[in-house]
């Protein structure tokens, strides 16, 4: 790349800095609506031609675009969490995060990557004590999300409206929504895997514990007993939020979260990045346990548990039952091969 010999005008650098600072200035809560604080615009308005009507409104359009685009990115990355807490509360959490951690790169996905630990820590802090029936770590382990590499939670410095954000929601609901969103986001980042043509010999070797199972690096399993179906809690927002910045801001302020309900039985969601995209399916509890334990153990370590959990009448058909699981896991790209290392991956 050629080296520049031209310097930008100093006034231009100052104007850009002011414009950037204006865009990043937090949205102000005013009667439940988001809007820019007029005081922030004075410096920039002095640089703007005043022979066009509504200069402040025009400047505010850029401000709204900045925030709505970033809110949209985070809502798209965490749709279930946003649905559970409601878009207004979610955007406030996003706002607190973005004020502390403004985007530093071109990749919008980075914003979501960095948001997860802050969101988790903050939600934990905001949930009312009466709703904490299970510890966050307990939920994660219960949901088998130990498969996810946990990032230390870091609560946001929540600004003045903190008091409005006490969440009267069960922690288990929030934790499950967040775990499922993060599993999908991580799968998108991870390498894709293809179906594995597993053979009878492979299955026999796994059951004899001569080899371990190599899992897809993107594989996550999340136990969910709240009604968090992919499209059930919050339909995906459409396209580019910048387009509807003004209307989105109003909708954001006025809508309240739909209440989820708890299911009679839990579902175990398996998320993986396959060649044809990020895939999302459910398995029964026994299969979930098999998937989770074979990641770090050999078959001999879970044989007793597996036998105990098989449906009545299937006790004598251990091999047949396991082979069914194995073939499905291989066909769906959840298992990608065997390992002879001491520790399966």
């Amino acid at each position: 790349m050629t080296t520049s010999t031209v310097a930008p005008p100093a006034w231009w650098q100052a104007l850009q800095d002011d414009f950037g600072a204006f865009l990043r200035s937090p949205l102000r809560d005013d009667g439940g609506r988001f809007r820019a604080d007029a005081a922030d615009t004075a410096k920039l308005l002095a640089c703007v031609k005043d022979d066009e009507p509504g200069a402040a409104a025009r400047l505010a359009l850029y401000h709204a675009q900045y925030w709505m685009r970033l809110f949209h990115v985070l809502q798209q990355a965490f749709p279930r969490t946003a649905g559970v807490v409601g878009p207004f509360t979610f955007n406030r959490l996003a706002s607190a995060f973005l004020v502390q951690t403004p985007p530093r790169g071109f990749d919008l996905e980075d914003i979501a990557r960095n948001f997860h630990p802050a969101l988790q820590g903050t939600l934990e802090a905001l949930v009312r004590p009466t709703q904490r029936s299970a510890s966050p770590q307990g939920v994660i382990e219960e949901s088998l999300s130990a498969l996810l590499t946990r990032v230390p939670a870091a609560a946001l410095t929540v600004p003045a409206w903190h008091g409005l954000l006490s969440l009267d929601l069960p922690w288990s609901m929030l934790a499950q929504a967040l775990a499922l969103d993060e599993a999908c986001r991580r799968a998108f980042d991870a390498p894709a895997t293809s179906a594995w043509a597993i053979g009878d010999d492979d299955i026999a070797a796994i059951m004899a514990s001569r080899v371990g199972v190599r899992m897809a690096p993107s594989l996550s399993i999340v136990r969910v007993d709240w009604d968090l179906d992919v499209d059930g809690v919050m339909p995906p927002t459409s396209g580019n939020a910048v387009a509807n910045a003004a209307t989105d801001a109003r909708a954001t302020a006025q809508s309240s979260p739909p209440r989820s309900r708890r299911r009679q039985t839990a579902r175990h969601h398996v998320v993986v990045h396959r060649i044809d995209g990020v895939s999302h399916g459910t398995v029964d509890a026994v299969f979930a346990r098999v998937l989770a334990r074979l990641r770090r153990e050999r078959f001999r370590d879970l044989r007793v548990h597996f036998e105990q959990k098989l449906p009545t009448g299937a006790d004598g058909h251990l091999q047949q039952a396991f082979a069914g699981y194995a073939r499905r896991a291989a066909a769906l790209g959840w298992w990608i091969g065997t390992t002879v290392d001491d520790e399966p991956t």
Binding site: P9, G20, C47, L61, Y66
Partner: protein
Amino acid sequence: MGLGLRPVHLAALKEGAPGLGFVEIIAENFLGRSELPRRQLRDIAARWPIVAHNVSLNLLGTDPLDTAYLRRLRELVETHQIPCVTDHLCFSAAQGLHLHDLLPVPLSSSLVPWAVDRIKAVQDALGVPFGIENASTYLRFVDDDLSEQEFLRQIVEGADCQLLLDINNVFVASVNHGFDPRGFLDAIPWERVAYVHLAGHLTRDDGLRHDTHDRPVDDEVWALYREAWRRGGPFPTLLEWDDHIPPLAVALAEVKKAITVRA
């Protein structure tokens, strides 16, 4: 005829897209950590020529150009033999922080040397022809001493680069700032136009035109497109649709209207 590639159309594109001549990608969507978009792009690039459109080069910004980003962009260009790369005449970052928008710049003659120098550096880094697009704007600055068309002309000629002329943006800016869009077209150096953009926009209650890309092309924009064709045609034409995106067949039908409009 071209169409901006959007993920919602990937499945339909596999079934074919009669009349589609080329596809424009938002390059940033294929430069991130995940391999999935790049894998999907391979299938598209095998069937249609690809051009790369950017939103993050920060051409008129004062932050240093992102050399790592440019390297990745060049790899993408070389992988898919992309013949042309474009970005907007705007700034999009300041103080090391990305603003993720196409922000307005003063139409000042004192900024022309800076813009020319940056564009030459980008073109040099990418190794393929580079073009700049006129952006939609909602503000003008007290430091403006050039018309937008004169600002554009001085920069494309100084940098010896191409021009991606967005007809919708010309119209939006003309209404928002009160100038004659046909006079704008009269000043365009047509020999430098690589292709033109079309898109839909919103008319707000206060009369401001908002470049939303969320609806069909406005009738007045089609009329301006006809004027552009008379002045500078033939040129490739591409439709952008970014929000409330219709099925592929609807988007293709919209861009094919151009053939009727310019007849």
